[in-house]
Amino acid sequence: MSNVILFNLTTVLFGVASALYLGALYAKNDKISGVGTWVCVLAAVVSTAALGVRWYESYQMGIGRIPVTNLYESLVFFAWAVNLFYLIVERKYRNRTFGAFVMPIAFFTMLFAVYNDSSIQPLVPALQSYWLHAHVITCFVGYAAFAVSAGVALMYLLKSKQEAAKINTGVVGLLPACKVLDDIVYRAIIWGFPFLTAGIITGAAWANYAWGTYWSWDPKETWSLIVWLVYAAFLHARVTRGWHGKRAAILSIVGFLATIMCYLGVNLVLSGLHSYGGG
């Protein structure tokens, strides 16, 4: 399948970009990370084409469906969204050090995807619904925003330690100021949160149309609520004295860990109604 070849190429590009960004940080050389940006742009083009080709190929096979319906497809879609989000952040804040913290997330996601079944299978009856499109896309755009936020939150924790000690040398010295990092952590979440909310709502609407219950406390639903609650706590923490800054950054990271649990852990560890996840 040509789409899989393109996705494999994307994986390599994400790996190269991650290495370039990390190397640039290590060597304190912005020219290297500049090349990283172009690799990311190329990866964005290749992965977008791969999604399109996969969609087209599903029609050629007589199946014809959007490529976001199993674990492999959701992983590549997630990595695609993380990369895009990253490029927006990099362009907006004109700082390439984020790449070293965000691009590895996209790279490892793709590596994980490569080890999963990449064949295009027809949809089981439960997934044959228009809600599928809205549900999966909103959820994964949200997840991607949270990934970016968590990567930057990690930068914040490193930087704040250094700022507190009034040092401004070494690798961490290249990172943007805490104020800027804190702002990005927050900004990524205010994009992710409405998307996650919409994802939960479209999921509930779909469940109601398929089974007659919009909420049944199945593990996937519950974990999505846990993620929602953690980010809701983050949003309130940020406007409360004594809770912003470091604690908010920790909440962002906890939120992303909960997201990973919701996305992968529930399927790999717990049982439930969702189809992807090696089941």
Partner: protein, 453 residues
């Protein structure tokens, strides 16, 4: 003791507790943390299953804590109540203040206000106060928003704002949560959830309600006309289809073939395709024809049940083989004619003409096994569901208002200077996304300053 905390009345302390954002953060985190438990301990399983996993003492403790149905337990419910009370108190506490500020904006840029604003600029112009006030009001209307003009002792104040809705975002979001809860409560009190199996050709008028064992009268009858299963060429299931009829007073009032993700609705009650299976044993489909080839009908043979054939005798299906001597599916039948010894032979599904070899007056051919199916339906009535959707829609709208709108305010103060020129002060503030506002303000600044007579 002038310590403020000590002079607070108990009532005030309780109020402060329930209106604090810290309580909200803690409640959110505790709700998130405890919710994890119910995803690790499988919920609503039969007791035997838990006994297989847990020691007796562990089972006793978990059972006492309602951990096997924790999301409906009293303690979890109480946390949701605390969450809701906190939410409501915060709203009651802050909403009127916000409304007051929005309704009575500070339209005059006085010295005190000016000090709190980081974005400001001042310059002087030749001319009269009213002349410049008019000019600047025009510019603001064109490039920002129509200003309110107030004049007091030798000064003219212009005030313009956009994105006031941003201030309401948080309240819309909080209200939406309460609306969702109300919808959920209505659904729980006035609705029901059930599950029923209907064999093909049969009808039901009552449905067993989930959790409780009560029967819910539907007020009409639902008949399953047929169930069918479609597969992809690979053998994976493609569609489960139930052909359903709604009957009232024996008359069909609605008929629909439902599949997963496409339910049937009648009088507020929904029927969802959920399961299927075999109803009773399989029967063998056998067609009967005369020696000359004219068909006389089809019969269904249940295992060992004799079926009479007019003017011929009795036929029974006694055995079935999926692959009889390598020839595929076959049916073993026994024929008894009055006053004659019984005959026993195999019919091959792949060779419908095989029975001609027997040279009898009647020819049988085996069409395969057929089994009666049942369809499994989820049945639900939820009069609160539309309220829940209303809440959900409000939540998304509220979040967008809160996160992506910004209450932006711009003031202009004009005063007659001692040198006969007009002193102008321009200032601005935004409730959020200050970076973006700074850029907008800069543009506005250049625009306003450039205005000529």
């Amino acid at each position: 003791m002038a310590d403020e905390k000590r002079t607070l009345s108990p009532m005030d302390r309780v109020w402060n507790f329930f209106t604090s954002v810290k309580l909200a953060i803690v409640t959110l985190i505790v709700l998130a943390a405890t919710s994890i438990l119910g995803t690790i301990i499988e919920q609503n399983q039969p007791p035997e299953k838990y006994h297989q996993v847990y020691e007796d003492w562990a089972f006793a403790i978990l059972d006492r804590l309602n951990m096997f149905d924790m999301y409906h337990s009293m303690w979890f419910l109480l946390m949701l109540v605390l969450f809701t009370v906190n939410l409501s108190c915060c709203t009651i506490d802050r909403f009127p203040r916000m409304l007051k500020v929005v309704r009575n904006p500070r339209t005059k840029l006085d010295e005190n206000l000016e000090k709190t604003l980081s974005l400001s600029d001042r310059w002087k112009k030749k001319g009269t106060l009213s002349e410049w006030a008019g000019k600047y009001a025009e510019t603001l209307s064109a490039s920002f928003a129509k200003p309110t003009v107030t004049g007091t002792d030798g000064q003219v104040h212009l005030y313009a704002e956009t994105g006031v809705a941003s201030r309401f975002g948080v309240y819309v979001t909080h209200l939406s949560i309460i609306i969702i809860f109300i919808g959920a409560i209505i659904g729980n009190v006035a609705g029901f959830k059930g599950y029923v199996n209907i064999p093909e050709g049969e009808s039901i008028a009552k449905v067993p309600v989930r959790g409780g064992g009560l029967m819910q009268d539907l007020g009409f009858t639902v008949r399953c006309n047929a169930f069918s299963l479609e597969t992809y060429p690979s053998g994976q299931p493609k569609a489960y289809k139930s052909d359903l009829s709604v009957l009232e007073g024996g008359r069909e009032v609605l008929r629909k073939t439902i599949v997963v993700n496409d339910p049937l609705q009648y009088k507020g009650i929904w029927f969802y395709q959920s399961s299927y299976g075999q109803a009773g044993g399989a029967t063998a489909q056998v067609t009967v024809s005369r020696k000359d080839g004219t068909p006389t009908g089809a019969i269904a043979l249940a295992p060992n049940e004799p079926v009479p054939i007019d003017g011929y005798g009795i036929v029974r299906g006694v055995n079935y083989d999926q692959n009889f001597q390598g020839n595929g599916p076959a049916l073993h039948v026994v024929v008894e004619k009055p006053g004659k010894p019984s005959a026993s032979f195999w019919l091959l599904q792949a060779r419908p003409d095989l029975d001609r070899q027997r040279n009898d007056s009647v020819i049988f051919s085996f069409g395969g096994l057929s089994s009666k199916m049942f369809t499994g339906l989820q049945v639900a009535k939820d009069p609160g569901v539309n309220i829940v959707w209303l809440g959900c829609a409000l939540m998304v709208i509220g979040l967008i208002m809160a996160f992506f709108l910004s209450h932006q305010r711009v003031w202009v103060r004009l005063a007659q200077g001692t040198d006969g020129r007009v002193e102008v002060v321009l200032a601005g503030a935004a409730s959020r996304n200050r970076l973006a506002f700074e850029k907008r303000f800069e543009k506005l600044q250049t625009g306003v300053k450039a205005v000529e007579k």
